[in-house]
Symmetry: C2
Subunit: 336 residues, 2 copies
């Protein structure tokens, strides 16, 4: 436990140091993001805020996780999470970099984004499928049963992975929203892995490594919130949101807890769902009646709340509080 | 552990329900606070926000703590914390009520506030002093030694108690500041008491009860943050800040961890300290040179940061993050 707390503190401290070094540099390199043209009017003032801030927490989190992870025995779980976080994070980095260089609000084309994501998801899914202590089963939360998917595990997991990292990306729309919500998710993952490690001595150091990585994310994000909280001095960019999505997904993959994600990461899930409903309903009504109709004032859902008159900070607080409550419910399934 | 999580959820749920019932009622009864005349200019807009919101979380926290506390064996610790939180909270309630009824920004006179506080502190200190498992010693954090104060324990504890509850009151100056910082403190207290309970079987249920009360505070405050976060729909008032101070102090009293308060509750400590320095220096320079000088732009410290150009929300986030980092350091002293 002391090791875990030191991990959190180390990631926190490195991010504290890295932030004030990186932010002016990101700004100087004119890494000011061209704000997504379809966002609410009130977001226009955010034009000058630098982006790609994700590297401010991603680098410290990786260093702390690897430095404090248990290397004495098996560390496959840690390695898989590193590959997932770093891999998806790199796709985001390329996307951000193109946005900045070409001064376009949208970086890679959807195809250029999705192909490497699907490839990475395939590698990770097959890796997990063939891993002796992961395999083709998923835990069904609250019912304590394993659901064995057989070979279907691979396409299902690929779908979940690509869905999760892109949902994480969609949730990153308000100051401190994704950084705070995912921090609560990582606290929860950390606690769950600690209890799982106690119950599974054969896999103990592997599961503790997951807790260590989660702790590193908690420390780094906690510190990053200083810079990303309203009013944000830096945005995390796609590099940040994909890194977070990849890290969370990697943890769900190795612990077989992917079906818990819609509970602890409901905010991400609803961001995607609201986007799909919005676009689907618009296309459907357009085809039926000639004019497209909308379900939400704006998708993803957090913009709907904002345009309904809620101040940005209040939407963010609501998301934090609901996430924390759901995480408490999730924890109930893991403690005695 | 399940019992503890249920406590948090129960307090959370009750506060969720109570908030929307109480806030319009507090507003209707014209419980709009007359904003402290000496606050920053930008706070004038907060004139219409109702106060006394502390009862929205205090009642659920008390109910949850008593309902889920272990009554099968000894519950003296729980009782002492209830007396401390409820006692100091009542002083705050009277103060708030007078403010509202007489439309004065300052309620009770300083004397009328301090006398019942000192009396309550005396009762609690003597109670703890004579308690077989508390006594006259304080734990020195990080050094693992007990510091036995003998009869001096009583005046020292009285000073710490009155200081803590009033510091809690001083920290309640920005939206979500005290509610969020103290929530982090209560999470820490909860974790510390869980580890202490494991190490001390003879006193186990007593210490678990402290964790239960801390959990009830966490759940209730988490939910209250929905209403109290920037921009606040309700202020907690003195009833809230004294209740929080009393609860935290009660927990420190029974666990002998009063000397840990300047670490985990540094934000409270600095609020008082900056106030004392400001007033002291002003009086000193006034006497020496004829004109009083100030150290801070405004005291307590959080107003100084605000007037130095930091947005209110950024000051609050900074306080959260620093508090969380200090709490992690404090936890290092309690886990293996």
């Amino acid at each position: 436990m002391q090791r875990l707390i030191w991990t959190i503190i180390a990631a926190f401290a490195m991010t504290v140091v890295l932030g004030p070094i990186m932010i002016p540099w990101l700004k100087k390199l004119k890494f000011g993001q061209t704000i997504y043209d379809l966002g609410p009017e009130s977001h226009k003032k955010k034009q000058g805020t630098p982006t790609m801030g994700g590297i401010i927490f991603a680098i410290p989190a990786l260093i702390a996780a690897v430095a404090f992870g248990y290397g004495d025995t098996r560390f496959d779980y840690l390695l898989m999470i590193v590959v997932s976080a770093l891999g998806f994070g790199l796709v985001g980095f390329v996307d951000d970099f193109i946005k900045v260089k070409l001064k376009r609000s949208l970086g890679l084309t959807p195809m250029q984004k999705i192909v490497p994501q699907v490839a990475l998801a395939a590698v990770l899914s097959v890796w997990a499928y063939r891993h002796p202590s992961i395999g083709s089963a998923l835990t069904v939360p609250f019912f304590n049963v394993e659901w064995n998917l057989g070979w279907l595990y691979i396409p299902v997991m690929m779908f979940i992975m690509v869905g999760t990292v892109n949902s994480s990306n969609l949730l990153d729309g308000l100051d401190g929203l994704l950084s705070g919500c995912s921090m609560i998710d990582f606290i929860t993952m950390m606690l769950i892995c600690l209890t799982m490690a106690e119950a599974d001595p054969a896999n103990r150091s592997n599961l503790l490594n997951v807790a260590i990585f989660a702790g590193a994310m908690v420390g780094a994000l906690m510190s990053f919130l200083r810079f990303n909280g309203y009013p944000a001095r830096v945005f995390m960019g796609d590099v940040g949101s994909f890194f977070i999505g990849g890290a969370l997904m990697g943890m769900a993959l190795v612990t077989r807890l992917s079906l818990l994600l819609p509970v602890i990461a409901l905010a991400m899930f609803l961001s995607s769902l609201s986007d799909i409903i919005q676009v689907g309903y618009f296309k459907y009504t357009k085809r039926k009646t000639g004019t497209g109709k909308r379900v939400f004032k704006m998708a993803p859902l957090h913009h709907h709340f904002e345009l309904s008159g809620m101040p940005e900070t209040r939407v963010v607080t609501m998301y934090y509080v609901v996430t924390a409550a759901l995480c408490l419910l999730a924890l109930l399934g893991f403690v005695a």
